[in-house]
Structures are given as structure tokens and as C-alpha cells.
């Protein structure tokens, strides 16, 4: 194995073995998004969005809260994979690329955790915290 050219360094090593995993994860979460974001969009169109009590009541139903939590997981996994490819394509320079990928991971994991926490807060809030009961 040579140590001069980039090609020489990787020749004979085969693939990194992560490509098909990335590809499949993107497709699986796309399917999840199709169902879950579809449900969210239909709900948003049908809900009286200006009515806080109605929105809160909707979001605190167990099945809705569960769907919203699954949506957070699916959407943020999918956007992490998608934006990762965007960064790999357009951000050049090893240091900036690494920083961009770190920022992306902070955003994706932090965003998902924040979303799941707010949903849990809505669904599990004590009745006293509900509309009119502050």
C-alpha cells in the first residue's frame, strides 16, 4: 500500500461500510415522514390554530403526543442525513467541514430532544397548568 497519493492510501481497503446504512436510513425515515408529517399537515389544516385550548387538547391526546414524538425522531434523523450530504458536497476544508458537521449534530439531536421534551410537557402537564388554570 502506497502512502503518497490519496488513491494509494485507500486502495484495497474497500468501502467505509457506512454508505448503504446512510442510504437505507434516509429511505426508512422518508417513509416515516410521509406518514407522520402527512398526519401533522392534515391536523394543522383542520385545527382551529388560533384557539389555544383546542390546540392544547389536541396535542395532549396520548396517540397524538406519541405520533408527534415519533415525528420528531423521524424528521430530525432524516434532516440530519440530508444536511450531512449537503455539507459534504458544499463545505470544503477539513476544519470547517468538521465544525459544520458538529453544528449539524448539535442542531439535530438538540432539536429532537427539545421537541420531545415540549410534547411530554404538553401531554403530561398537570391540569392546573392547563388553559385558564395558570
Amino acid at each position: 500500500m502506497g502512502n503518497g497519493t490519496h488513491l494509494g492510501k485507500v486502495r484495497g481497503l474497500g468501502s467505509a461500510q457506512h454508505g448503504s446504512h446512510h442510504w437505507l436510513q434516509a429511505r426508512l425515515t422518508a417513509l416515516g415522514n410521509l406518514l407522520l408529517v402527512g398526519f401533522l399537515v392534515v391536523s394543522l389544516i383542520r385545527l382551529p390554530l388560533g384557539d389555544y385550548a383546542a390546540v392544547h387538547r389536541w396535542a395532549s391526546q396520548p396517540m397524538v403526543a406519541l405520533a408527534l414524538i415519533l415525528l420528531c425522531v423521524s424528521v430530525f434523523t432524516h434532516l440530519r442525513l440530508g444536511l450531512q450530504v449537503l455539507i459534504e458536497d458544499y463545505v470544503h476544508g477539513e476544519a470547517t467541514r468538521l465544525l459544520a458537521l458538529i453544528a449539524l449534530n448539535f442542531y439535530a439531536i438538540g432539536g429532537a430532544a427539545f421537541g420531545i421534551f415540549t410534547i411530554a410537557r404538553i401531554a403530561l402537564a398537570p391540569v392546573a397548568l392547563g388553559p385558564g388554570g395558570m
Binding site: 408529517v37 389555544y52 432539536g111 410534547i119 404538553i122
Partner: protein, 126 residues
């Protein structure tokens, strides 16, 4: 080519602006009625009679962003479905490929228009 660029552009828009708006909305619901009212007054409609210039701008901007997100959602959804078909190894013939690309773009615009016309119609009749 255009569909591929639009797939990426709409995906990035949804990932950053869409996910951000979604988290903001969830946070507003979790924070109680006053916070939710403040959220609605910022992004959709401020009912106050002496509405600030800032809210006049954000009310307009909010609607533009929401229509944009609706388009990005449908565009990404339809071009994503196209990708599933291409992944299966179908639709690579030049004519078929060109036709479905055009259909995806038209469907995205049509679905966006249909959604907002429906919302407007509901508002006028509800």
C-alpha cells in the same frame, strides 16, 4: 436536474425553517395561553388595535414563510416519491423521466395552491 435541485432546496428549507417553526410552535403550546397568543400575534395575526410596525412586518413575513413551507413540503414529498420509483430502477427512460419531473413540479405548485385556497375558503365560510 431542476427537480433534483428543488428536492435539495426544499429539503433544506424544511430542515431549517420548517423544523424551527415546528419547535417554536410546540414550545409556545407548552408554555401556556399567553405565550401561544404571543406566538400567533407574531407569525399570523396581531389582533391589537395599535399593532406595532414589527408585528405588521412579521405578520406578512409569517404568511409568506408558511406558504413557502407548504410548497417546500409538497415539492419535497412528490420528488421524494419520485426518488422511491427511481430507487426501484424504474422511470429512467428519457421521455418518462422528463414527464414525471414536470408532473412533480406542477403537482407541488398545484397542491400548495389547493391547500391555501381551501384554508381561505374555510376562513370565509367557517
Amino acid at each position: 436536474m431542476t427537480v433534483s435541485i428543488l428536492h435539495r432546496a426544499s429539503g433544506d428549507g424544511l430542515a431549517i425553517v420548517g423544523a424551527g417553526m415546528f419547535l417554536w410552535w410546540l414550545c409556545a403550546i407548552a408554555s401556556g395561553p399567553e405565550a401561544y397568543a404571543a406566538f400567533v400575534a407574531c407569525v399570523w395575526h396581531d389582533p391589537s388595535p395599535d399593532i406595532s410596525l414589527f408585528h405588521q412586518i412579521t405578520n406578512l413575513l409569517g404568511k409568506v414563510v408558511l406558504v413557502g413551507l407548504t410548497w417546500a413540503f409538497f415539492q419535497h414529498l412528490f420528488s421524494g416519491l419520485r426518488h422511491f420509483v427511481l430507487d426501484a430502477g424504474a422511470g429512467y427512460e428519457l421521455k418518462t423521466n422528463k414527464m414525471w419531473s414536470a408532473i412533480v413540479i406542477a403537482a407541488g405548485v398545484f397542491a400548495t395552491a389547493a391547500t391555501w385556497l381551501f384554508i381561505l375558503w374555510e376562513k370565509l365560510n367557517g
